[in-house]
C-alpha cells in the first residue's frame, strides 16, 4: 500500500433521508489517496446512498462531501474527470457492442480510445460482442473497463462481485488489485467479508447510516470481544477431562479435541504444549482459530442494532 494521508474523499456529517427513513445519519468518512477502502454493512445500512451522494447521483440533505476537492452537487461535470463509477445495478443497451460502448464513453471523456485498456483486461475477444451476449462476469468486467476509460483518480465500485461465480470473482479481485497498484484509489461497497479482507487496506462498517468501526481489517477484527480458539488433540488424551491452562479458558471437549479460548494466544499455546510434554504425551493436532472479520462484523452489527 502506498497510501498518503491526504484524503481523496472527505465526508462530514452526511445525512440523507427518504421520507421518514433516515438512510445516512451524520456519517463521517475519509478515504486516503492510493488505498483500497471497503464499505461494509448490512442491507439498508446506507452504503449505496453514501456512494451515490459522493458520485453526484443523489443530493444529500445536509453535510459536506468532497471528492478530489470537488463538491459533487456543484461540480458534477468536473467530478466525472476524476471519478470512475461502477453502479450496483447497471446496464447498457442490448445491441451495443463492447467496443462501441468503450468508444462512446471515451468520446464523452474526450480521451482517445485506449487499446491498452482493452489489452490489460484481455477483453479483445469481446469487442464485437453485443452487450446481451455477455455473461454476468463479462458485463461486470466491461463496466469496470468503462469506469476506467477516463483515467480516474478514484474508482467507486458498488458490490462489484455480487452474483459472480468463483472464477469471475477471482478475476475481478485480480483486476482491482492491479488497478490499485497503478495508483488509483478504490472505494468499494461489499457484503463479502473475504473480499474485504483480501482487497482492502482499510474498511468501515456502517450500521443505520453511521460508521461504527473503521480501520485496517486486522485492527477491526482485533478490536472485537471474540477470543482466539485453541483446539488440541493428543495421542493419549493426557489433558482430559480438561481445565483452564494459564491464560487459556477451557471451553469443553468433543471428539477427542479439547477447546480453550484466550486473548494471550502465544502464552496459552506454550503452556498447553508444555503440559502435554510433561505428561509424556504427543500432539496429534493443534489448531488456532483467530476470530474472523465476519464474526467481528456480526458482533458490531448486533451491538449497533441493539
Amino acid at each position: 500500500m502506498n497510501a498518503s494521508p491526504e484524503p481523496i474523499v472527505a465526508i462530514r456529517a452526511l445525512t440523507k433521508r427518504y421520507g421518514a427513513v433516515t438512510a445516512v445519519d451524520g456519517l463521517d468518512l475519509e478515504v486516503r489517496r492510493g488505498e483500497v477502502f471497503g464499505l461494509l454493512g448490512p442491507n439498508g445500512a446506507g452504503k449505496t446512498t453514501t456512494l451515490e451522494c459522493l458520485e453526484g447521483l443523489r443530493t444529500a440533505d445536509s453535510g459536506t462531501v468532497l471528492v478530489a476537492g470537488l463538491d459533487p452537487r456543484r461540480d458534477e461535470r468536473e467530478l466525472r474527470r476524476h471519478l470512475g463509477v461502477q453502479l450496483q445495478s447497471t446496464s447498457l443497451p442490448d445491441s451495443i457492442r463492447v467496443g462501441e460502448a468503450i468508444r462512446l464513453v471515451s468520446a464523452w471523456h474526450r480521451v482517445p480510445y485506449k487499446v491498452g485498456l482493452v489489452e490489460r483486461f484481455t477483453i479483445g475477444a469481446l469487442m464485437r460482442r453485443e452487450y446481451r451476449q455477455l455473461s454476468g462476469g463479462q458485463k461486470r468486467l466491461v463496466h469496470l473497463v468503462l469506469a476506467l476509460v477516463g483515467d480516474p483518480e478514484l474508482l467507486v465500485l458498488d458490490e462489484p462481485t455480487a452474483g459472480l461465480d468463483v472464477q469471475g470473482r477471482a478475476r475481478l479481485h485480480d483486476e482491482i488489485r492491479s488497478i490499485s497498484e497503478q495508483g488509483v484509489t478504490v472505494l468499494l461497497a461489499t457484503h463479502d467479508m473475504a473480499e474485504a479482507e483480501q482487497l482492502c487496506d482499510r474498511i468501515a462498517i456502517i450500521v443505520r447510516g453511521r460508521v461504527v468501526v473503521c480501520g485496517t481489517p486486522q485492527e477491526v477484527t482485533a478490536a472485537g470481544h471474540s477470543e482466539t480458539r485453541i483446539l488440541l488433540r493428543t495421542a493419549n488424551g493426557s489433558l482430559l477431562p480438561g481445565s483452564d491452562v494459564g491464560a487459556a479458558h477451557f471451553v469443553g471437549a468433543e471428539n477427542g479435541y479439547l477447546e480453550w479460548t484466550s486473548r494471550e494466544v502465544a502464552e496459552a499455546v506454550t503452556e498447553i504444549l508444555a503440559r502435554v510434554q510433561r505428561a509424556g504425551d504427543v500432539v496429534d493436532d493443534l489448531r488456532v482459530a483467530r476470530p474472523s472479520l465476519e464474526q467481528r462484523f456480526l458482533e458490531v452489527v448486533t451491538e449497533a442494532q441493539q
Partner: protein, 248 residues
Amino acid sequence: MTAFWTSLAIQLRVDLRDRGTLLVFYLVPLVFFFVFGGVLASLNPLMKDTLAATMTIFAVTMGALLGVPEPIVKMRESGTLRAYRANGIPGSAVIGVQATSAFLHLLLVSAIIYLAAPIVFQARLPQVPLAYLLVLVTFIVASIAVGLLIGAVAPSQSWATMLSMFVFLPSLLLSGIMFPATMLPDVFLWIGRVFPATHALQAFYGFAYRSTTEIDRTLALGVLAGIAVIAFAGAVWRFGAIRRNEKD
C-alpha cells in the same frame, strides 16, 4: 459536439442491429405501404394522388410512437441512463441522440415512400416538393416530440406501449389517411383534430398538393408546430423532474 456525433454514429449502428427498431421504423411501414398502398389506391383512386403523403404519415406516426418511447423507458428502467450518467454521458445527450437517430430513420423511410410511390403505384408527386419537405420535417419533429413525451411520462414499458397505442390507433383511424375524415361523425372528426397526423395530412394537401383542405393549411401547419413545441417542452420538463426525483 464531437462526442454527440460519435454517439449518433454508434446509435445508428446499434439501431441497424436491433430487430425492434428495424421493424417499427422500416419493415412494417414499408410492408404496409407496398401491400395496403395498392389496396387503398384501388378502393379509392383519389387516394392515389396523395399516396406518398398518407403512407408517410402512417410510417412516421408508427416509427415515432412505437419506436421512440419504448427504448427510453427501457433505458430508465434498466439503469442504462444512470450508468451513462455515471460514466460522464449526460442524460439529455442520450435522449437527444435517440431523437436525432429517430429523425434520420423517419426521414429515410419517408424518402423511400416518396420515391417508390410514383414508380410502384403511379402516384402523383406533390406540386411543391419543398413545401412537402417542410411539412414532412415539421410532422416528424412533432411526432418525435410526442414520442419523447410518452417516453417521459410512462412509468413502465407496458404503460409506454399502452399510451403509444392510445395515440397511434386514433391517429390512423381519425386523421383521414385511411378514409376521408368527412365520413366520420362530428365527434370523431373533432377528436381526430387532437392528433398531429390529422394536421399533417391537411398541411400536405394544402401546401404540397395545392388541393382543398378541411382545415386552413396555415393553421394546420401552425398546430403541428405548436404540438411539437408543447410536447417537446413537456418532455424536457418531465425528464428534468425524473432526474430531480432520482437525486432526492
